[in-house]
Symmetry: C3
């Protein structure tokens, strides 16, 4: 959608230097920018490249001061953030997403809010409730009694098991499965066979959570699995039953959280990390990629980076690696 720089400066709370009547329609990298693009620089050393690009205008940091250039500038204390927000403003809403496609199968007892989109072949179960402006993608299966808030985006071929609850502004990418049965079995001491422990709890996903493609989140066994407000989860992540994740947690691709793990607020978890059952990761800890936390461990340390299996503070781990490399080379 077209916006003038003047409009964007107001929307973003940026200071405008240059012609506010200039129109932009999209965000771009310096390399791919066209004459209607908005680009950004968050480091003074890239400013000249940005000014030399084909972009219509540049979002830059306060390092620019009152520089006068041929290209208009939007000045922000957080230029990367302003750029992200500009993209949202410029992103054309897809009107098609607000219709209910005739091939969708929607239960007569489901309740849909205003401007809800249900795409082709999506299924909405009995007594499901979907909030205003939410879009359900093609081929999605929304189970019975699922509650989805407003302004959510559920991409194509997502499956949400019955009884799951999603807050507002939640984004679920394609192929994700929410509310599946957890992995809990009881072994019969007489026959040696496994029987499923009841998996009859539920899954609660709070506001502003985003979950990547083909990730899986199990419902609680008897109680709840909960993903807290603002948490972002990448592709192919596994979240087991009864896990409790706090606010503003970031979890990179292919990480797995076993049953009853607790992840507190503001934790950052790299890719392919393995977190065993009943682990607690306390507020603000950082887990390096591929690290592993054994069962029932507590990881503590705001801003401390942990690495390895079993995970230890990265300083210690690097020292061990250096010692091992050195010693092995010395030995014969």
């Amino acid at each position: 959608m077209k916006h003038t720089l003047q409009q964007l400066a107001e929307g973003l709370g940026c200071k405008l230097l240059g012609d506010g009547a200039v129109v932009v329609t999209n965000v771009a990298s310096l390399k791919s920018a066209s004459s209607e693009s908005l680009v950004f620089v968050d480091d003074a050393k890239h400013l000249n490249s940005a000014l030399a690009s084909s972009a219509a205008a540049v979002i830059a940091g306060q390092f620019v001061a009152d520089l006068t250039t041929a290209k208009p500038l939007l000045i922000s204390s957080q230029p990367r953030l302003a750029f992200a927000r500009a993209a949202k403003i410029l992103n054309t809403p897809d009107d098609e997403r607000r219709n209910v496609h005739p091939s969708a199968v929607i239960s007569a007892t489901a309740r849909l809010g205003k401007n809800v989109g249900v795409s082709a072949r999506a299924i909405v179960g009995n007594e499901a409730r979907i909030g205003d402006e939410t879009a359900i993608g093609e081929g999605c299966v929304i189970g019975h009694r699922v509650e989805i808030g407003s302004h959510c985006r559920i991409d194509a071929n997502v499956t949400i098991y019955s009884g799951t609850t999603l807050g507002d502004r939640v984004v679920i990418q394609s192929g994700a499965v929410l509310g599946s049965e957890g992995f809990g079995y009881v072994r019969d001491q007489q026959t040696g066979r496994y029987e499923q422990f009841p998996q009859v709890g539920r899954l609660v996903i709070e506001d502003d959570v985003e979950i990547g493609a083909n990730s899986t989140v199990d419902r609680g066994a008897l109680d709840e699995t909960c993903i807290g407000r603002g948490t972002k989860i990448d592709n192919l992540v596994h979240v087991g039953h009864n896990v409790r994740i706090g606010h503003d947690v970031v979890i990179a691709a292919q990480t797995g959280l076993s049953g009853s793990a607790v992840i507190e607020d503001n934790v950052i978890i790299g890719g392919q990390v393995g977190i065993a059952d009943h682990v607690r990761i306390e507020e603000g800890a950082v887990l390096g990629a591929q690290s592993g936390i054994p069962s029932k461990k507590v990881i503590r340390g705001k801003g401390v980076v942990f690495w390895g299996t079993p995970a230890r503070p990265i300083r210690e781990y690097l020292k061990e690696l250096a010692y091992l490399s050195h010693s092995a080379r010395q030995s014969r």
Copy 2:
């Protein structure tokens, strides 16, 4: 569904202490129990909490002896198992699951047993055979000549490639893919290009197998991939072509089994374990989370826990970790 304690005691083979006319409708945790809930304790130290909960009745171990309490008790030698079975008895069968939805696309040459449910938008291919009381979820794609036994539950958006066979009482959770082509290529020595080695075998899944959400199981290349009776597989697990898994094996989330691996009966495999091609894990071995077994290795030892990459007995591995940590700290 409502059941009296008397009925449950008979169904479960438990000893009943107290009023057999009391009615329960669901299983619950001590925390979430309501006045119609059944809870359990498998340790004497939790008995008082259970008696103080809102539950209607408690399943407990023989440690209770002949205690007389205000709350009725069901006594079992395996209280956790009795609780799991009670949940199955109490779980209301969903009648809707036994219908064929008009939007399902079922081949004229497919054969469906009694009370088979085929949910909205599911597809059943030519000459497929589906046994009595089996439920096919929304959006499933069941290929040609697939055979599914009786009392199975195939959840929404599962894909089963042509020619796959499933036994009775098999549960497949959403998004799982069964019978896909394995990862086998031949490199042309002249051009350096890869061409697919034939992946024309089949996949056989025996009775009582359960497979988690978004897991993938490849068919055999020329012969069979086989998952043995009673094996339980978690979410996002990968099983390669020609793998043979025995009976009552447990495989946690995100583990991968490469081509032609053999997993014998009663093996337990943690999460994110990597098993290379042609590995053999012998009966009853236990592989800790994130461990790795290099190509062609044999792991032997009933009840022995292995850990690390390459996996070694956990005692050795822990000793190595302790030595390394100590030595690195000493060196400067």
Copy 3:
């Protein structure tokens, strides 16, 4: 489909020894061969077993020389490759795959080539273009403006986000998600909340690429994610935004490639490998299973095998493992 050995010998460029009128209909292993099967041996020591099998004929290496046997032989300098190609010749094309099923939902503005198959319940978006002889599986969701080349096979329940481009002869197995939004966020320094960095780039998949079941490939953030010609990707692999993969790369199951990683031509990557952001794997390097490459590292060495986390040449890594095992055993 039936073929005579004479026809196959010509099609494969093999030398025929024996009766060219013999008919074969399928490829098989020695064990599973029937009287219409073609088998292969690439090692002289298996030749006798092959001759003793029930197979109609055997593809063998030049080690056979001019041996005269009761069973006809096809001699090739690359018998395994010839066998793979024979399988393609024998594999009956499924005519059904060339129809458009009445339950498919195809946009009026999509353009389909000759003999395109669109299976039941598949969806093809606005302005999508699908090349000749391509087959779209059941339940697939092909987004707006997606371009798919000719002779591709998109299996059931695949999701392709809008704007993605696929070359010719591409194979995508079930449940894969192509073109999803990458995992990039900007943290607001004032509120501590994460906002999505724009993920408005695209995904380009070149000719002859094959991608396994339930794998996920993110589009570029502002520019492109690109998977080069002939690259083969296994199941449950994650490819992040802006990744660039060269030609003839092989990536085994459950490996993850973080944002902006570069994988050059002819690299071989084992299963469960973790590659952090901005890593470069240079031409022809080999990464052992479960190895990990930290952020921004460059891995160099044609044909060199790297292992461990952080990955080092396998000789070094094995020496370290041996040293550690030995030293730990010595210490007390």
